[in-house]
Symmetry: C2
Amino acid sequence: MGTIEAAPLPQPSRAEIRIEAVLAALADPVRLDIVRALAPRPDGIACGEVALTVSPSTRTHHLRTLREAGVISTIPLGTRKISQLRRADLDALFPGLLDGVLAAPH
Amino acid sequence: MGTIEAAPLPQPSRAEIRIEAVLAALADPVRLDIVRALAPRPDGIACGEVALTVSPSTRTHHLRTLREAGVISTIPLGTRKISQLRRADLDALFPGLLDGVLAAPH
């Protein structure tokens, strides 16, 4: 029996990531909070661990927006979903963008 | 008689620039075209010199959105309006952001 590798939820490939979609996904205070929470955790964290003052359905909506834009990757792991920033992809496509966003006063 | 210095159109001070507003202003293909046209021209260019496939009123709208977000500065000079990227302000607040956006494939 081999290891069962969980597949990430649908997401754009690196080549499919568009700068307009990334910027629009980041242009929201709640989604910026999610990105800030994920930034120091390269191995990813369970969505529920991000402290947010929004409802679970709103949280799900924001996570989906980030995933579909190519900002985060989400892997279902049993009953949990582990999300992580796609830093390698974003840094390769838009070098400096993520660091600049994370440096912003808030 | 001294020199009359033209004042820029209303714009946020550096301290008033918000990352969410900057990202939202940049998240549009026409506005990205404007930013790309202004990037290599630190002294600014007249709005009409930016080659765009949109109507004059749409152009004005996009320029205003960029200005109100703090991305560009616009100075009326006689019958012309000269716009320039606020690179010093953006680089100070969000180091890397503008370079990452300008590096994006398009």
